[in-house]
């Protein structure tokens, strides 16, 4: 094969694969700029709120065909903060999050349905306390742009909401203590393009 024909072939391969590489970008969840909060009824008096402070994960984001995207997130169960150390310990106990046995909560997407120009339903398996259940996240893609002070770093951001039932995951004591059991989840997540 001559030099020219080899170059032509290489160029053709590059052209052929370039759109694929651009279409599905890979991102790492930016832990310091991610807020995974939740709220649930506290016996009808008010809504109790909490946040998981350690959230990591990977996102594959295909802007041309969002249904080909995927997300995988790991939450450190012991990073729970409900504004009370005593309550955090109770919530981490065997009746609720059971962090000794199940230190991680994970979410892995299984399918995505685009619902609007910037919105989608992301379905996936939430695994908590050893139980996996499919949940649906209502996701909005907010923005993507380089950092103003470092244009080589591109950041994208999403907002997502979901409602889960704690008893689906075996947290039956929620009901006994007048908590939930419906839990509203709100996620604001920023991710750095790799």
């Amino acid at each position: 094969m001559s030099f020219i024909s080899r170059s032509t072939l290489a160029a053709a391969l590059l052209i052929a694969t370039a759109p694929l590489a651009q279409a599905a970008d890979k991102y790492k969840v930016h832990e310091d700029h991610t807020w995974l909060t939740f709220s649930l009824s506290h016996a009808g008096w008010a809504n109790a709120h909490g946040i998981f402070r350690a959230v990591s994960g990977d996102i594959t984001f295909d802007k041309d065909d969002v249904t080909k995207s995927s997300v995988s997130v790991v939450i450190a169960a012991d990073s729970l903060d409900t504004n009370s150390e005593v309550r955090d310990r109770d919530m981490g106990g065997a009746d609720f999050l059971n962090i000794v046995e199940f230190p991680e909560i994970t979410f892995d997407s299984t399918r995505i349905e685009q619902t609007g120009e910037r919105t989608a339903m992301v379905y996936g398996d939430l695994t908590m306390i050893g139980v996996s259940k499919e949940i649906a996240l209502d996701v909005t893609w907010n923005n993507e742009m380089p950092l103003p002070w470092d244009t080589s770093t591109v950041k994208t951001g999403f907002t997502a909401t979901a409602t889960i039932d704690g008893t689906d995951f075996g947290m039956n004591q929620l009901v006994a203590f007048g908590l939930g059991p419906k839990i509203d989840v709100e996620i604001d997540l920023e991710a750095l393009r790799q």
């Binding site: 106990g93 059971n98 046995e101």
Partner: protein, 274 residues
């Protein structure tokens, strides 16, 4: 809601304890049958609170439910053995239970110093009941000790971040309370002729011991001093044999007061988180 809770958590187990004790002391049902029924009732109490464990169980709470269901069978196998043999059966069952409960953190290479407490619990529950008491030791010594331990354990669980097990232990306290109440009433009527079966007490010790293994392994805010005092209650039947020389009907109150001397501080330690 509160009334339902009272019936479910306290009254039903109390009545079950009274019925089984009466069947043992009045109805003359074979002690082995009663002991197995006592063990089964403890398992049912647990399952009523924590739900029917799935197969295979996922969490330690579900595993304990299955172990409690197996405990009466273990007792059935061990009933012909001498106290030492029964102690070995309990130690084997409780050790297997403990290893199963910590299977996940163990497999992940995560260890905890707190795990020394369940090991100590197994040793105390296996060894102390084999120590012979005097011939005239009160029939109330062990039952009242077990009530005191259940109540103290309940407080430690509730204050130690193990709310579900705390509720189970409230019910267990009511159940053992019902058992002792019927024993007291029978003694009031029949005097010394009605003996209590060691097997029923062994069944209660099996159940309580397994729950304490769970409590000491997984309570996220367990009071160490309180828990050690709780275990010290197991020495109550040996502590002061002069209690057995009191009039028979005064003995449960005397043992109860002695239990309060140790169990009370155990609860206070838990309140103060020491």
């Amino acid at each position: 809601m509160t009334f339902d809770l009272l019936i479910f958590v306290v009254l039903a187990p109390l009545v079950a304890g009274i019925v089984l004790s009466a069947a043992e002391h009045i109805g003359r049902v074979p002690s082995l049958a009663i002991a197995v029924a006592v063990g089964a009732t403890i398992a049912v109490i647990y399952v009523m609170h924590e739900g029917v464990p799935p197969l295979p169980p996922v969490s330690s709470k579900q595993k304990l439910g299955l172990v409690l269901l197996v405990a009466p069978v273990a007792l059935l196998c061990a009933h012909r053995l001498k106290p030492m043999g029964q102690a070995i059966v309990f130690a084997l069952l409780a050790t297997a239970c403990f290893i199963w409960l910590i299977q996940r953190p163990l497999m992940a290479g995560r260890f905890s110093l707190q795990w020394l407490l369940p090991i100590l619990t197994i040793a105390v529950f296996a060894i102390l009941p084999t120590v012979p008491t005097t011939r005239n030791t009160s029939r109330f010594a062990w039952p009242v000790t077990l009530i005191a331990m259940s109540i103290a354990a309940c407080a430690l669980a509730l204050l130690g971040g193990f709310l579900g097990l705390g509720q189970v232990l409230i019910s267990l306290s009511a159940f053992v309370g019902g058992y002792v109440l019927a024993l007291f009433l029978v003694t009031l009527r029949k005097g010394d002729t009605a003996r209590s079966s060691d097997l029923s007490l062994t069944a209660i010790r099996f159940g309580l011991g397994l729950m304490l293994v769970q409590l000491s392994t997984f309570a996220t805010n367990l009071s160490l001093t309180g828990y050690l005092l709780l275990l010290a209650l197991m020495a109550l039947p040996f502590a002061d044999r002069s209690l057995s020389r009191l009039p028979q009907l005064a003995q449960p109150f005397a043992y109860g007061a002695a239990g309060l001397l140790v169990g009370g501080p155990a609860i206070l330690m838990a309140v103060w988180n020491l």
